[in-house]
């Protein structure tokens, strides 16, 4: 019944609209404005241009400043601070260009609206002006490129030798985390060895993997470079950590990496934001299927000592009886994982990078 009423109302509204439209045409025929080419509506549109600029400009300014505090994710990495500065500098540059060009567009539209007694100024080209407005943007662009390029090479350059290594593996629809354990070496993994109790596909015949451990969240120490090694075992995912200004795809068959230095512990950030429940989050930022929007991992930034303590308390995979048993069975079934062949090790080194030096002095004593 309500549906019918709504439908009826809609139909009636349409009829009213149609009648109004006809009426409008008939009156304009009567008043002669129907065929007149340029009438009052020209003036109204010109005024609306100006109104749009003023009202729109104010609304934009108001909403922007109103939301400004909410639109900046807190920053918690060294390069994040540099990036933020570059972002807002660029925003100011494009903001200036925005205001000038939009203002000219709307003001010209208003100012040069049709007038019967005026004629447009025949002005077809001027090479000097063209050269000027080619060169000025080119110079501005060049300086932005240069700043961007310098930062980009620094951020994407090789991680410091003493960086902490964490490996993150994306799968539908959660993240797996692995640490290299006491030997500071990530062991060989093989996607064919994956099963219910061996999510990562550890090749336990490789000695380096025996002391690796998995975790349900990422822990990293404050003030120390962290190298995130990134894998995917099914489709594309992307590691996106907005507060650290980190993003890198997780690509099946092609390990990727990103390094950064956290500057603020979780506790410090909680105090700073006045939010006792604050958590650093890692989101998936490349469409990966049904659960894409819920593919989350928490990150904890610890004081270095807490981190070392946490690290020491983790149980290596060799203590996981389930996994050891299932690995033996998988290994038998597939014929894989027999003694960590030279090739597999070479692959692993190529994929996971050179053997890291000792990351944290305290960690070395573990």
């Amino acid at each position: 019944m309500t549906a019918l009423t709504i439908l009826l109302v809609l139909v009636l509204l349409l009829v009213v609209f149609g009648l109004l439209f006809r009426l409008q045409i008939l009156t304009s025929i009567f008043s002669g404005s129907y065929v007149k080419e340029i009438g009052t509506s020209n003036r109204i549109n010109a005024i609306l241009m100006l109104v749009f600029m003023v009202v729109g400009g104010i609304a934009f300014f108001w909403s922007f400043s109103n939301n400004f505090s909410k639109m900046n994710p807190p920053i918690a990495s060294v390069h994040g601070h540099a990036m933020e500065k570059m972002f807002w500098t660029t925003m100011v540059v494009i903001g200036i260009a925005f205001v000038i060009t939009q203002a000219l567009l709307f003001i010209y539209s208003y100012k040069y609206q049709h007038q019967d007694n005026r004629r447009a100024y025949f002005f077809a080209h001027n090479n000097t002006i063209e050269v000027i407005w080619t060169i000025i943007p080119a110079i501005v662009m060049a300086s932005l490129i240069f700043a961007g390029w310098k930062a980009w090479t620094r951020i994407t350059g090789p991680a410091p030798k003493d960086a902490i290594v964490v490996e993150v593996m994306g799968k539908q629809f959660n993240w797996l985390v692995r640490y290299p354990g006491r030997d500071m070496k990530l062991g060989v993994i093989n996607y064919r060895l994956i099963d219910a109790s061996n999510d990562f596909g550890f090749d336990l015949s490789d000695k380096a993997s025996l002391d690796d451990f998995t975790a349900s969240e990422i822990h990293v120490p404050k003030g120390h470079p962290v190298l995130i090694k990134i894998r995917s075992r099914d489709v594309l995912h992307a590691v996106y950590m907005p507060q650290f200004r980190v993003q890198m795809y997780a690509v099946p068959g092609m390990p990727t990496r990103f390094w950064f230095t956290p500057t603020t512990t979780t506790d410090e950030m909680r105090a700073k934001l006045g939010n006792p429940n604050f958590k650093y989050e890692l989101a998936c930022n490349q469409i990966c299927g049904k659960g894409h929007f819920a593919m989350k991992l928490n990150i904890v930034v610890d004081e270095p000592d807490d981190y070392v303590a946490w690290y020491a308390a983790q149980a290596p995979v060799s203590q996981n009886a389930d996994m050891m048993a299932s690995f033996k069975q998988m290994s038998k079934q597939t014929g894989l994982g027999k003694g960590g062949s030279k090739e597999a090790k070479a692959d692993a080194i190529e994929e996971t990078g050179e053997t890291p030096a000792v990351p944290l002095a305290a960690q070395a004593s573990l």
Partner: protein
């Protein structure tokens, strides 16, 4: 079938004719020949470029409505994630069981919205309509170089449309891996149900679409090069034609690369190859594929994908230049700079594709190179904007609906283009990649802008298409509602993006980091849905005016280009008599010394002695 078509003899001159001579006698013959055409050949399997243009336009409009409906649906979800939408159950069925949109169907909506808008509306609907309609009319040709290929171009598009449309109703849903269909998600039905039959139909549909684009493109290029009328050198072409010409070249060079990507993806999906797949464990099973690279697909896709956004925007740029000049009653400022910047953009558009891939694991050095090339492309784009502004300066502006949309285009192009400077910077893209900042950016700069170009074109050339005028007042209402609506949707979307909200998220409620903008998302959704409904003003106006609009005159806008020298509704062959000869450039508006404020291109200098510029006096005879 082709040989039975009476119209097939009409493709004027055919291939191999010399560029200029349009001998009149055979044109006359054709004219008489077609007066009693069967409706099937006149309206359906027509080889007349004007009819084909109208076919592209109407099909494009149908697609635009579908694309708009899809976006309204997913905006409902994003604006009111908690709402129960039972009332949609009769339409969406199992996809909205219990009033909650299925997350996989949400992804399908997003995917199909992108595919439809980018390819079917803004490529086929925009370029297909206006390249077809305007190229022969503005270069002074009887028709396209090959009318038959032109007809095929539309019918391949139609076939492709039918396949894509059918895929919307599949049991497993349409393609859902994003419009960029990155494998492995798009390659594995185990990963998402839309990658089953839905993806197959997507790929098949795109193959036909590419065929359609290539047939059309070859035709546009050939026509512009070979069939220009007497006196119409490349340096006298209207900017519309330059834009269509370069767009067609971009399409011819880039669409085959998408074809190759699609083909390899078909191989991976169906024949067990490993072009894009490697080391995959999915649905409890390790796949045999090894050695492929998903990043390779991204290179192939964006090699088309980036020129594609210029394929979308350049025709709009061309038409806007034309409309601004006509309605400001002033020559376009810097005609040669405008051509130069179009050429610059076309060349650069082929070497910027990897800026979509800064953080995909591509070598960072490549990232530096592409950042450099990407930011360079801002220069010719800036030149265009400055030239448009200079065209308005000291003009005598007539606000037709077309003019409003052209001004709106410039405004949106500026707003969207400037944020490209942020996204093209690899460093800043680390944070902004795949956030709503990107969504806001491209919806302004190539989505809404191109739509505004499309609307401007329709309002402007409607009189030539249908012989009647569209209602101006409804046009004004349509413009102001749409213009305000677009800004209300996409300006706040930047804030959401700066805050890092990821795109293609069904809901953000699971993250603390993305919990602050529920109100803003509601606002964006409401504005988007209202802006969508405002389009029905246009649709009403369009169809009403086709049948009952005020009758148009031959040249209602006092414009200079050749299409306005044809009869009110040009028949087959466009000009009943001889094809006009061109003597001058297309922008002689408000020329000092001339009484009329416009001098059409086909008026010789000998007739305008009082207004000729010094160097033109020599051309007098």
């Amino acid at each position: 079938m082709a040989t039975n078509l009476p119209a097939s003899t009409s493709s004027q001159g055919g291939i191999g004719t010399a560029p200029v001579p349009h001998t009149e006698h055979d044109e006359h013959l054709h004219d008489h020949e077609h007066h009693d055409q069967h409706w099937l050949w006149k309206y359906v399997f027509s080889q007349d470029h004007k009819m084909i243009a109208r076919q592209f336009l109407i099909t494009g409009m149908v697609w635009a409505i579908i694309g708009g409906v899809l976006s309204s649906l997913f905006r409902l979800q994003l604006g009111w994630p908690e709402a129960t939408l039972d009332w949609l159950q009769p339409i969406l069925g199992k996809w909205i069981a219990g009033g909650k949109l299925d997350p996989e169907f949400y992804l399908a909506l997003v995917t199909m919205h992108g595919t439809i808008m980018v390819f079917f509306v803004l490529t086929a609907g925009l370029s297909g309509t206006f390249s077809n309609f305007l190229i022969p009319l503005q270069v002074g040709a009887r028709d396209m170089a090959s009318g038959f290929m032109n007809m095929l171009s539309y019918w391949f598009f139609f076939l492709s449309s039918i396949i894509m449309f059918c895929s919307l109703f599949l049991e497993t849903g349409p393609a859902a891996a994003g419009w960029t269909i990155y494998p492995p998600l798009s390659a594995l039905p185990q990963a998402i149900s839309g990658s089953g039959m839905g993806m197959t139909m997507w790929l098949v549909s795109m193959v036909f679409f590419i065929v359609s684009q290539l047939l059309g493109g070859v035709n546009y290029v050939t026509t512009v090069i070979n069939l220009r009328t007497r006196g119409l050198s490349m340096s006298k072409l209207p900017l519309t034609i330059w834009a269509f010409f370069l767009t067609a070249i971009l399409g011819i060079l880039s669409f085959p690369v998408l074809f190759s990507a699609a083909l390899l993806l078909v191989f991976d999906r169906s024949f067990g190859t490993s072009f894009f797949l490697s080391d995959i464990y999915i649905a409890g099973q390790a796949l045999h594929n090894q050695g492929g690279s998903p990043v390779l697909f991204q290179h192939l896709f964006w090699f088309l994908g980036h020129p594609e956004v210029y394929i979308v925007i350049m025709p709009a740029m061309g038409m806007v230049s034309e409309i601004l000049a006509t309605n400001a009653r002033k020559p376009i400022f810097g005609y040669r700079a405008m051509i130069g910047s179009l050429i610059g953009i076309s060349l650069l558009s082929f070497v910027v594709w990897a800026h979509h891939m800064f953080v995909t694991g591509m070598n960072p050095f490549l990232g530096s190179v592409f950042m450099f090339l990407t930011l360079i492309i801002a220069v010719p784009s800036g030149v265009k904007v400055f030239n448009w502004l200079a065209t308005l300066w000291r003009g005598n502006i007539r606000f037709t609906a077309a003019m409003l949309f052209a001004i709106g285009f410039v405004s949106l192009f500026i707003s969207g283009g400037l944020t490209g400077i942020i996204l093209g910077n690899a460093t800043l893209d680390i944070q902004m990649h795949n956030t709503y900042f990107v969504v806001a950016h491209f919806h302004l700069v190539m989505g809404s802008s191109a739509f505004f170009g499309l609307f401007a074109g329709i309002y402007h050339w409607f009189p030539k298409m249908f012989g009647r005028m569209m209602d101006e007042k409804l046009g004004y209402i349509h413009f102001w509602l749409t213009f305000a609506g677009v800004y209300l949707v996409f300006m706040p979307m930047h804030y959401v993006g700066i805050a890092g909200f990821p795109r293609r998220y069904y809901s953000w409620t699971g993250f603390d980091a993305f919990s602050q903008f529920a109100d803003l998302n509601k606002f964006i959704s409401a504005a988007a849905i209202l802006a969508f409904f405002a389009q029905f003003v246009f649709i009403f106006n369009f169809f009403y005016s086709i049948f009952r609009g005020r009758r148009a005159s031959e040249n209602p806008w006092n414009s200079t280009t050749l299409e306005w020298t044809t009869p009110v509704v040009p028949g087959h062959g466009n000009w009943p008599g001889e094809i006009p000869t061109v003597y001058r450039w297309p922008y002689d508006y408000s020329k000092p010394g001339s009484e009329a404020d416009f001098i059409p291109q086909n008026v010789p200098y000998s007739q305008t002695a009082s207004s000729n510029l010094p160097y033109e006096r020599e051309l007098n005879d």
